[in-house]
Structure formats: structure tokens, C-alpha cells
Amino acid sequence: MTSFLQIENLHKRYRTVHALRGVNLELPGPGIYGLLGPNGAGKTTAIKLIAGLIKPTEGRIRISGIDIRDDPVRALASIGVMMEMPRFYDHLSGGDNLRVLALLSGQRDQRRADQLMDRVGLSAKAGEKVSAYSRGMRQRLGLAAALLDDPRLVILDEPTNGLDPAGIAEFRQWLPQMAHEEQRAILLSSHQMGEMERICDNFTIVSRGTIVATGKAADLAQPRTSVVFRVPDAEAALAALHDVQGITNVEVLGADRIRADSPAAPTAAINRILVNRGIDVIEITEERESLEEIFFRLVGRDHDVA
């Protein structure tokens, strides 16, 4: 099966700025792919290139196997794009906006527009002019517009900006449904690390116009060396692990919790030592590097996340 998206050696130069430098990226199949990077890293440039809004200086973009330069109309038929802060014809109603866009794409059946308004929870407001819509409602309409042509690849730039917590929760439900049930690839750019970590299957981290890392969060995380044990008596556990080989540091976190840094000793071995010394282990938590920690390790802390 052809990749949903394939980018090869993509460069984009503006007059004085080299915004993208040899980016390679592939979205092989359905899933939610997170695009992370600091402000000015090149994320929006990459999205605009894929969406055909700007032209690459060098390199190739293939959408469902079709090169966007060779046949932009066919290539764009397989993608749906929602740019950050989506804009609409303000003097038209939300429903009419979708219907006009459907007509532009040559869709004669207007029921899809109505179904999508219903799906994004806007059917009650479909007759209202977009000028009266809140930012969250525009985001929802943007998602409906992106899905209008039933695309294989959906690109969402900051989709949860301006949404209330209930709206964010709905988005969190929709995205896995779109990816896993409807078999779409979703390229998601957002600065909400927590949300991204929860939703996305794969991540691509961009910095200064290049991709610095790509893969699943577990693969990108450094091997974890710390384990937190909940025990009845933290001081007794500290004493028990004090001179164990392979444990470099033991730290008391509270009356009933200790953290052991153990680059060499496996968690099960430490657990056995505690049990053999008569200390009941109530809970074990292996600390994993969070997405935010991965991001800052790769990109540096002197950047904003966006």
C-alpha cells in the first residue's frame, strides 16, 4: 500500500531564511502523528508545503503516491487541512460555508455537509452566520471542512486552540476514532504536550528546519533508570538498599516512598531484595521520560514550545 504521505529531502528557502533543511518524513499508514517544535522551527512551513499553499525550493512531497507538483488537484483530493485559526466566509452561515466548499470540490450530495455539522456538534448552529461563531465553534467547523472530501490524510494545525475543556475532551475522542476506525492518518501540530502525549501514536520533533527525532514516545525516551517503591517504612527500605550493587542512589520521597536510581539492577531484583529483607512492597512505579522532557532534551530549554 502506498504511504499516506512521503516527504523527501524537502527544502524551503525564503529570501533570507532557510526555513526547512532537507526534511524527510513518512506517514506509512493510519495513525496519529504529532509534529512538535519550537516557534519558528518550520512546522507551519511544512504543513503549508504539504497543503500546497507554498512551493518547495527543493525536494518532493507525495500524497497517497501522487507528487503534489505533478498533479496538485489529485494530490489534494486525499488530504483535508485545518490551519491554525481557520477562516471562513463570515457573511455565510456555517452550513452554507460547508455547502459552498462541497460545491467547489464538485460534490453534488449536500448531505455530507449536514452530517459533518452534526458530527462536530454544530447542527443546531448550522444556520447562524460564522461571524457570530466563537473561536471554539470555528475550530469545530474547521474540522468539518477538513473532513468534507473524506480524505486519507488530515492535517490539523493547533486544533484545540480556543476550545474549552469539554471541546478538548471531544477532540481527544474524535481523533483516535478518525485514525483507527476510519483508517486515516492525522498529522497533528500542537503545543499542548500533555494532550499530544495522550493522543499521538508517533512523534516528529522539528528544530531549526530539520527533524531531530521521530518515533514513538517510548522509543524516543532515554532508558529509564529510576524506580519509585511505595513501602510501609521508607527509612527501613533506604537502609535495605543502601549498599546494594548496581544502585547508584537511593532517595526518600516521603514517609512511604523511596526512589532508587539503578542503571544496572533490574526492578525485579531490587523488589526481591526488599521482600527478602522483610519489607512489603505496596506499589512499584518505573519513571519514564515524559514527552516534555524528551522535547526539552532534544531541542533545548531556551525555546518556546509551539
Binding site: R74, M85, R87, F88, V100, L101
Partner: protein, 269 residues
């Protein structure tokens, strides 16, 4: 088929829009034509030797209405193209599976059809008012001063077609600044200023045959002379050929240039 035509021409969009501004513009235009008619009527009453005739008023008002019509053409295309960029809706349109040239063609075609409606509306208003004032039979008399009524009607039709083609050329040319500037207000200002410059340049005999305002005004001036019962300054065939070739030249130049811009245009904001 009908839906396809609506889609291409933007008529569906206009139906969906139901804008008060559009209706207000239409009413204002009808008032402008009415004012032009009575201004000419009163002017003719004071200075014209003889009586003002229905045909003369048709020609004179159409001739005067060419400037607002050209301005409407500028407004239509400047808003139609420029607002997509200034409001950011171009993101919405250019990320859809439609060809950019098709999109541009739809915009131009929609403006041209609306302009044609304005032209026909002007004619309908003028003929109705002139007919009501002088009697419709006066527009049908066999011998109308030195030109026959039949040839007057045919030439009026020719004038309408030539004027429309020249207006299409205007719209095509305006696409270029509209796409470069991407702001309706600035585009209109630039085009109005450009229009004045072209009018001034048309005063220079050497340049006149090559300028767009000539193709807009010459057939109408000829028809006005004809409806006054004066001998014609030019052969109709020569005038038709010149106006057609000139307008088509401008139109082609406008389309090719605009198509080139649209193909290369990047949406940076």
C-alpha cells in the same frame, strides 16, 4: 448541468450570500442610471437643437454609464480575489482539490456575468424610461432622422456586445493587481488611479488606439452620433474590428499574466 454552471459562475455562492450590501449596491446603481438619464434629458432640452429622442438618450446614458460599469467591474474582481487573500479564506479554497486556474476562471466568469447583468439592467432602465416618456413607437419608426430604426437597434446590440467585451478585458487586467496586492481597498485605489492615467494618456493621439478606454467609449460615441442623426465618424466594420482586436489583446494579456501569478503564488500569511 445547471448546478455545474452555478458552481463555475459563483451564482450558487451569490444565492447563499443573500447579502444586504449586494442589494443596496443594486439599488444605488439603478438610482445612478436614473440620475444620468434625467441629467441628459434636461441637458438636451436646454442645448440640443430639436427634441431629445429616445434613441439618443439610450446611447448617451449608456455612454455615461460605462465609467460606473467599469468601476463596478473593478469592485467585483478586486473584492472577489483580494478578499480571499486579505480575510485568509484562500487557505480554505486552495487546500481543496480544485485547480487554481479553474478557481481564477470561475472568479472572472462570475464577475463578467454580473457585469453583463448590470449592462442589461442599464439598457432595460433606459429603454423603459425613454419608451414611457416618448412612446415606444418612437423607438420603432422606420426612418429615424437619417438612420433607420432597424440599423439603430442592430448597432445598439453591437455596441452592447463590444462594450461587454471591453469590460471583460478590464476585469481580466484588474486580476493582475488584485492578485499581486491581495487587498481589495488598495487594488481599487490603484485601479482608479490607473484609470485616470489611461484617460489622460488617451488624449495623446499616438497612444489612443492601444488603450482600453478607447474600446470602451468609441462604439458608444459612434452610436450617440448615429442616434443624433449625424453622419458616422467611422465605418462600423472598422470600428468593430479595432475594438474587438484591442479588447481581446488586453483580455489575453490579463488572463495570461493572472494565470502566471496564480500558478506561482504562495500563501505566506
Amino acid at each position: 448541468m445547471w448546478r455545474e454552471v452555478c458552481r463555475v459562475t459563483g451564482a450558487e455562492w451569490l444565492r447563499a450570500r443573500r447579502s444586504r450590501a449586494t442589494l443596496t449596491g443594486l439599488v444605488v446603481y439603478v438610482l445612478v442610471v436614473g440620475i444620468l438619464y434625467f441629467t441628459y434629458y434636461l441637458a438636451v432640452r436646454r442645448s440640443f437643437v430639436g427634441i431629445p429622442t429616445g434613441f439618443y438618450l439610450c446611447g448617451a446614458v449608456l455612454s455615461a454609464a460605462v465609467t460606473p460599469l467599469a468601476f463596478i467591474g473593478v469592485l467585483l474582481i478586486a473584492f472577489s480575489l483580494g478578499r480571499e487573500f486579505s480575510s485568509g479564506t484562500i487557505h480554505l479554497v486552495w487546500t481543496r482539490p480544485i485547480s487554481r486556474l479553474g478557481w481564477l476562471g470561475g472568479k472572472v466568469l462570475s464577475s463578467v456575468i454580473h457585469l453583463k447583468s448590470f449592462l442589461v439592467l442599464t439598457l432595460v432602465i433606459v429603454i423603459t424610461v425613454a419608451g414611457a416618456q416618448f412612446g415606444f413607437s418612437s423607438l420603432m419608426e422606420k426612418d429615424y432622422l437619417i438612420h433607420s430604426a432597424g440599423s439603430l437597434w442592430w448597432n445598439l446590440l453591437l455596441v452592447i456586445v463590444l462594450t461587454w467585451i471591453a469590460l471583460i478585458a478590464t476585469v481580466s487586467i484588474v486580476c493582475v493587481p488584485a492578485l499581486y496586492i491581495a487587498s481589495p481597498g488598495v487594488t481599487i485605489t490603484v485601479c482608479v488611479a490607473g484609470g485616470f492615467v489611461l484617460q489622460l494618456a488617451a488624449g495623446w493621439e499616438v497612444l489612443r488606439p492601444f488603450l482600453l478606454p478607447t474600446y470602451l467609449s468609441s462604439p458608444l460615441a459612434q452610436f450617440v452620433a448615429m442616434s443624433k442623426g449625424l453622419p458616422l465618424p467611422e465605418e462600423w466594420s472598422t470600428l468593430t474590428r479595432t475594438c474587438l482586436l484591442g479588447s481581446l489583446g488586453w483580455m489575453l494579456a490579463g488572463w495570461l499574466w493572472a494565470a502566471w501569478i496564480v500558478k506561482r503564488k504562495e500563501v505566506l500569511n
